[in-house]
Each structure stands twice: as C-alpha cells, then as structure tokens.
Amino acid sequence: MATGMNGFFARHGKAIREGMRDGVPIGAGYFVVAFSLGIAARDAGLTPWEGFVASLLNNASAGEYAAFTLMAANASYLELAVVTLIANARYLLMSTALSQRFSPRTGTLHRVLVGFDVTDELFGIAIARPGTVDPYYSYGAFVPALSGWSIGTALGIIMGNVLPTRAVSALSVALYGMFLAIIIPPARQNRVVLGCVIVSFAASLVFSVAPAFAQLSAGTRTIILTVAISSVAALLFPVSDEELKHGDANAKGDEEGATHAA
C-alpha cells in the first residue's frame, strides 16, 4: 500500500503541486467574489450549508448570481434551468476546447472530474500549459479554488458585509488580473491573438454601452462576441497543424521565456 502511494506521488505529485500553486491566487480571488455572492444567496433565503453546496456543485459566478436572484423572485424551475443554461453556455465552448487538448487515452472518469470544475480561470490555466492536459494538475488547482469558492459563499451568507468596501473594491480586480496574465503573454508571441484581444476589448466596450446590446446579460454578450470574433479569426487566420501540435501560443511563449530567463 505504502509503495502504491509512493508510486502515485512519484507520477503525479509534481503536477498536483504545480496545480495547487497556481490555484492559490485563484482560490483567494474566488473567496472574495464568493463572499459577495453569499450576500445574494442570503437574500434568496439560502442557509450557509445550502450556499456551500450550491457553490461546490456550480462554481460559476454569473450563473449562480442569476440563479440566486431568480430564487429570491420565486421563479419556476424551468426558468431557473433556462437562465442557468444561458449564463453558463460559454462553458460548452471551453469544455469542447479542453476535449481537444486531452490525450485520447484519458478515461471517462478523468474527463468527468476535470469537467466538474471548468471555470474561466481553471480552464485558462489548464489550457495555458504546453502539451496535453494533465488531469492531476487540474485536481491540484481545484482544491484551493473550490475551497475558496464554497467557503466564501457560506461565510458571505453568515456574515454579510463585514469586509470594508475599499478592500472589496481592490480585491474585485484580482480575477481580471489573472485573465490578463493568461491572455497577454500569448498575445505578445502571436499577432493574430494580439489582434483578437484588441478587437475583443473594443467590441466588448461597444456591446456594454450600445442600446440594443447593453440590456443583454453579461453572459449572453460574452457568448455572442466569443462566437463572432473567434469565427472571423478562424476564417481569416486558420491555425496551421504545426501550431496546434505544439499546443498553443503559450507553449511557444514558455519556451522563449525560459530561454530569455536563462
């Protein structure tokens, strides 16, 4: 048994540790966001335990916020299902993208477990690693991320607004900082990715103020823009097999970064 455990850690320990390391800032950011989500859950009448379970099973900020708001309004189950589907539809795209980065040999259980906690950030760090996705890296990242998210929600329900507003304001940009750390290095390496990022920023700004689009939920705007911009980029700048085989732009970035550091 002991040697079995040793073998397990010899094979997967490094990936688990790296995942936990990258998951800590995500979990810290989640904790703060979940805390404010907990306030919405309390308004909907959830107990701390119910909030904990809802966040453990969903781990989706926009989706949960929309769901709690509907619960507070005593909406029908069908309404709740449809809104949750729309708010979380971008995960369909992320899960599909992840499926292409798994080794075909990876079994169903690993796929279910990695899929269980697809979030914007955890997807981002998994896809940013070169080569095929290592499920154990994701499991390592899930531990701090899910803890921060679920415990944060429960504490938000229990304690409400105890953090000073200035601290909440400062911590609210943590998640966006992480997004930047994921998209900017590949944009530096690949001009098409850089163009995509600039066009996405501009289009997102237009959509958030244009009268016809501003009333759509943020989740819906994200889906529309993601499908539109990625389709145009794919039509105009199809990616070569060579680039796909090397994983993604990040893989190149890492190699050059390492050379640079050396």
């Binding site: 800032p25 995500i26 950011g29 009448g45 119910e50 809802a54 989706g63 769901a67 619960m71 005593n74 189950y77 709740l80 299902a81 949750t84 589907l85 539809a89 992320m94 899960s95 599909t96 499926s99 292409q100 798994f102 075909p104 899929g115 906690d117 697809v118 914007d120 997807f123 981002g124 760090i125 200035r166 304001s169 400062a170 940009v173 900082g177 992480m178 997004f179 930047l180 750390a181 994921i182 998209i183 900017i184 995509c196 990022v197 996405s200 920023f201 289009a203 997102s204 705007r221 994200t222 993601t226 911009i229 990625s230 389709s231 980029a233 794919a234 700048f237 199809p238 680039e243 970064g257």
Partner: protein
C-alpha cells in the same frame, strides 16, 4: 406556489454540470475541421478578453483605479510577471489609488 430551495439547487447544478462535463466526455476524437480547430484555438483568448474589459473598470469604486489596474496588468503580463504577481499588482494599485482619491 412556494418552491423548494434544495430542488432549486438540484436544478441549477444539473444544468451547470451537464454544460461543463458533456462536451469533454462525449468528444473523444480530434476534430478534423480546420475551421473548428482554429475557432477553438481562439476561443479562450477572446472569451477572457471580452470578460476583462470594460468589466475591470466597472468593478472598482473609482473607474480610474480600474483603468490604471488594467494598464498596469497588461504591462506586467507583457513583461512576464506570473499569474499571482499580475493579480496582486492590480489589487495593490486599486487599493492605493482609491486610498488617495476617495
């Protein structure tokens, strides 16, 4: 009709988990279409960029603090700062700027 919160939670969780898990478990082969492969290659960058801006400017009490955090985060990430370093830089800047401004 009064709804049950545990049932509400069961419904939202079933929908969320299906969305996250089904593509990953059902799509087992490499997708052949060059368009679809290229599309999926660009998806993460576009999604995260769309979600970052202008949301980062709207998230802070003072929009200027969010804007400066955005600029600083881009510069830090461009020059190779880690995930944690970029996030911490953005948070620290917002805290300091709002301390001075508000």
């Amino acid at each position: 009709m009064q709804h049950s919160i545990p049932l509400y939670i069961a419904v939202m969780s079933a929908v969320t988990l299906s969305v996250k898990i089904l593509p990953l478990t059902l799509i087992r082969r490499p997708i052949r279409s060059r368009f679809v492969r290229s599309f999926l290659y660009y998806v993460p960058y576009v999604t995260l960029a769309v979600m970052t801006f202008p949301a980062i400017v709207q998230a802070t009490d003072a929009p200027l603090a969010g804007a400066i955090a955005l600029a600083a985060g881009i510069v830090a990430a461009w020059f190779g700062a880690s995930l944690f370093q970029v996030a911490a830089t953005c948070c620290a800047l917002v805290f300091l700027i709002e301390l001075v401004m508000l």
